[in-house]
């Protein structure tokens, strides 16, 4: 519990770390209607693809230095040799990031969805999907960033982005499912299943990688 509180305070103090991604997301969402002619039908057509890609990009930005500062000031090494379970520390770190960045972005995303599509059932149904998918994105990108910890984040993104593309296919199917009102909960459970696997495995692998970095 102590670790979670500590990480939370540390992230809050670094305002560019959490405010930056949220603002970038808002800006992308504002920029989107400017690029299309302002008729409602055309706006709705590609809104969701912009939404998923914006969420993906913003999570990429958010995890950019998730481990780097802790690695440089030695606190990761402290965690690794102390009594605490390193994978639990990493899992709680990702959880805090999701709470501070992923949650507001999901709320903003569904608000923008209401603003553009103008149907409230759409934005209610898109909110849980956004919550789950941002958590998955955060987990996978933090794994990639751990891989290329000292080599800049571009390499980590390059190697982990291909793994997320199948997820984007599923997200595209979710929108179709909402649109035609079929099998929405099935997709939600599929996403939850993916999340429940990732939430356990990624912190374990990441802690292994970070131990290898510290050697």
């Amino acid at each position: 519990m102590n670790i979670i509180r500590f990480e939370f305070l540390k992230l809050l103090k670094k305002s560019r770390g959490w405010l930056g991604p949220i603002l970038v997301f808002t800006l992308i969402m504002i920029a989107y209607p400017l690029t299309v002619e302002l008729t409602d039908i055309e706006l709705g057509q590609s809104f969701f693809s912009i939404l998923w890609i914006a969420a993906l990009l913003v999570m990429m930005l958010a995890t950019e230095d998730i481990f780097l500062e802790d690695f440089n000031d030695g606190s990761l090494e402290q965690y690794a040799i102390s009594q605490n379970n390193l994978s639990f520390v990493i899992g709680s770190k990702i959880f805090i990031y999701w709470l501070v960045i992923g949650l507001p972005i999901s709320a903003l995303g569904s608000i923008f969805c209401f603003g553009i599509i103008n149907q409230h059932n759409f934005s209610f149904q898109i909110f849980p999907v956004l919550l789950i998918s941002t958590y998955i994105f955060l987990n996978v990108f933090s794994f990639g960033n751990a891989l290329s910890l000292t080599k800049g984040s571009i390499l980590g993104i390059l190697v982990t982005l291909p793994m997320l593309l199948p997820l984007l296919i599923i997200l595209g199917k979710v929108v179709i499912a909402i649109n035609f009102d079929l099998n929405y909960s099935g997709f939600l459970f599929l996403l939850l299943g993916i999340l429940s696997i990732i939430i356990v495995i990624i912190p374990m692998i990441t802690s292994y990688i970070i131990r290898a970095h510290l050697e």
Binding site: F143, L147, K151, V159, P162, P166, I169, I205, E215
Partner: protein, 228 residues
């Protein structure tokens, strides 16, 4: 290594002969497909390449699991040496597939699951190579490479099943282990031949490439100096 060296020419010439013979059979002796016309003959080059591109990834995943569990150094050399060859075969599969698409589908590229996931596989092979090359410390690079290969292997079943899960333009697999093939036997025999021959050729390439890796990584050992 010395036994492999002795066996290498036999494997090479045998598989080359099988490959050329079944290509000749497929390109000249099989009848024309009723629906697709003569362009279907590309499958004798396309199917082996796409089959190999996925099997090579599977082989990499097994080898990296062996490295992570038993710390066998040779297996991670194998992983590193397979990666560029896998990229090459995936490239062949993509190019031949899109050339086949021009007369058959009327377009050279479709955004469907099978094709996109093969492209993802290609990008992943390139990413693996660049990850391994970006670390100066071999031990670290080996560890990260094998972890990434294992994590990335979730994509393989997705590629495999994409034809069945999503309704796509790509036709479902004509040959499966469990069912009767959906392709006529006259066309099937040369296809099997070309798969076997191509596998043999790629195995020769893997042998060469891992020989290069071994020499490169063990260049300070005395037995390498004796060998070269």
């Amino acid at each position: 290594m010395f036994q492999v060296n002795r066996a290498y020419p036999y494997i090479f010439y045998l598989s080359l002969a099988i490959y050329l013979f079944s290509l000749f059979w497929g390109l000249f002796l099989t009848p024309e497909d009723f629906v697709q016309g003569n362009s279907y003959r590309i499958i004798y080059l396309h199917v082996p390449a796409s089959f190999i591109s996925q099997s090579l990834y599977l082989a990499m995943a097994i080898a990296s699991a062996v490295y992570l569990i038993w710390k066998v150094k040779l297996s991670v050399y194998l992983v590193r040496s397979i990666a560029p060859i896998g990229a090459m075969t995936t490239f062949i599969a993509l190019i031949s597939g899109s050339i086949w698409g021009i007369p058959t589908w009327g377009t050279w590229w479709v955004w469907d699951a099978r094709i996109v996931s093969t492209l993802i596989l290609f990008i992943m092979y390139l990413g693996l190579i660049s990850l391994h090359d970006s670390f100066n410390n071999y031990e670290k690079a080996d560890k990260f490479l094998s972890i990434l290969v294992l994590v990335g292997s979730v994509n393989i079943p997705i590629i495999k099943m994409s034809v069945e899960w999503w309704s796509t333009l790509h036709q479902p697999a004509s040959i499966t282990l469990s069912e009767k093939p959906a392709i006529d036997l006259v066309m099937l025999y040369p296809l099997f031949g070309s798969i076997i021959g191509f596998t043999g050729l790629i195995a020769c390439l893997v042998i060469l490439s891992s020989k290069l890796q071994i020499i490169k990584r063990e260049k300070n050992k005395s037995w390498v100096k004796d060998y070269v």
